[in-house]
């Protein structure tokens, strides 16, 4: 987690990202670590790596979190595609994350 903190994970082979995600975490706190692992697995397994993921540590950058309307951590913001969406918690509910990202519709499940 620390290697990628604050740096965007670019889409594989320069292909267009299907989602632009920002995950707001509190350092290496347990739920934050869990959320990073979960979103990385989703990016890899469900988005085929085609996501632009940025992990932001609110302990280092509280202003960025406030500018994005984040109240608690972990919080995942989906900034693209529109409409934007937000998921709070450790992202262990994969279906909820996929619905928020918009790659699965509620009718299909």
């Amino acid at each position: 987690m620390n290697a990628r903190r604050g740096k965007p994970e670019k889409a594989v082979n320069g292909s267009k990202a299907v989602a632009v995600l920002r995950l707001y975490v509190a350092g290496d706190a347990p739920n934050s670590v869990q959320a990073v692992l979960n979103i990385e697995a989703i990016c890899r397994d469900d988005l085929g790596g085609a996501c632009d993921l940025e992990i932001i540590d609110v302990l280092q950058h509280p202003q960025r979190a406030m500018a994005a309307g984040v109240v608690v951590t972990p919080t995942l913001n989906k900034d693209y595609p529109l409409p934007t969406a937000q998921v709070v918690g450790n992202l262990s509910d994969k279906l909820r994350v996929l619905l928020a990202i918009g790659i699965r519709s509620p009718e299909n499940d």
Binding site: N2, V25, A26, G27, D28, A29, P30, N31, S32, D57, V58, L59, Q60, P62, Q63, A65, M66, V70, V71, V72, T73, P74, Q86, V87, V88, G89, N90, S92
Partner: protein
């Protein structure tokens, strides 16, 4: 002032203050909203207080960050408590600016009214904080060791010292230039938080000194001062001359000779040519006024 029992008490106060603050922020959340649901599910580590841009950690995250971060980083144990409380990232950012310096006994780090050029994080030295007085006699209002920092007024926005900071027992400290310290303070919420608590403890100790110097017997005060020094140094043996003790306690040298003689007679300490050793800590605590 922060010996074992007091540091536990301070930790407790800190935890209670944070919990109170946390519950205040929690009350502002939308009832039944996604944040509240996630908190109830135990999936949240921290909440942001928009009123002052602070991040408040939940107790579990607080504990985890304190215990996990240093181990994961593989970082060397830091011998100053304030620096040890920093997260791995915060410490790594500050580390290049930390300069190890040897401070000889009697060296003056700050004079009252002078700008603070460096802050000092003691490792195995002890520094007295002395307000300006007339003549030779003075009164110590703070004693800084491995658990503290010299130059705390910077954290309150004042870059001029109101006290003389004089090395009481020589040793090693880490120093940071004023400007770098101020930027670290901006960057690190942990440092701000730890310093707030430390400054609170310093203030409480100074208030206690007022009571102690007015109401307690010299022998009790000497016992307290020896225990305080021992706690700051993490050692039962140290070098302290009678003149120096008399100066910081604001009493005559003869009074120190008499008090130290009585503590020796009761086999609580040995004291010869400045070499002091605590023989019976419990006994010395009982003989002290416990103002430390």
């Amino acid at each position: 002032m922060i010996d074992g029992s007091l540091s536990h008490a301070l930790e407790h106060v800190q935890s209670e203050l944070l919990d109170k603050r946390l519950s205040g922020v929690l009350q502002r959340l939308i009832r039944g909203g996604p944040e509240q649901q996630a908190i109830e599910a135990g999936e949240i580590d921290a909440i942001i207080d928009y009123s002052d841009s602070n991040v408040i950690l939940f107790p579990a995250a607080r504990n985890a960050l304190r215990t996990v971060a240093p181990g994961e980083s593989g970082r060397e144990p830091v011998a100053n408590s304030l620096l040890a409380a920093l997260t791995q990232q915060e410490y790594q950012r500050l580390a290049p600016s930390l300069e190890s310096v040897t401070l000889p006994a009697e060296a003056v780090l700050h004079e009252p009214g002078e700008p603070i050029r460096f802050v000092f994080f003691p490792i195995d030295c002890v520094i007295s904080l002395l307000p300006p007085t007339v003549g030779r006699r003075t009164l110590e209002v703070g004693l800084v060791g491995f658990d503290g920092m010299v130059g705390t007024s910077l954290a309150l926005g004042v870059n001029v010292s109101s006290l003389r900071a004089r090395v009481q027992i020589g040793g090693t400290a880490l120093r940071v230039p004023q400007a770098r310290f101020l930027s670290a303070l901006q960057e690190s919420q942990t440092l701000r938080h730890e310093l707030n608590l430390y400054i609170y403890a310093e203030l409480a100790a100074a208030r206690q000194t007022a009571v102690c110097s007015s109401f307690h017997l010299i022998e009790q005060r000497v016992a307290s001062r020896l225990l305080m020094t021992s706690a700051r140094l993490r050692s039962d043996k140290f070098f302290v001359i009678q003149e120096s003790l008399a100066r910081v306690l604001g009493v005559r040298r003869e009074s120190i000779t008499q008090a130290a003689g009585e503590l020796q007679r009761r086999r609580l300490i040995t004291y010869s040519r400045g070499n002091l050793r605590i023989l019976n800590r419990q006994g010395l605590e009982a003989a002290s006024c416990r103002c430390y």
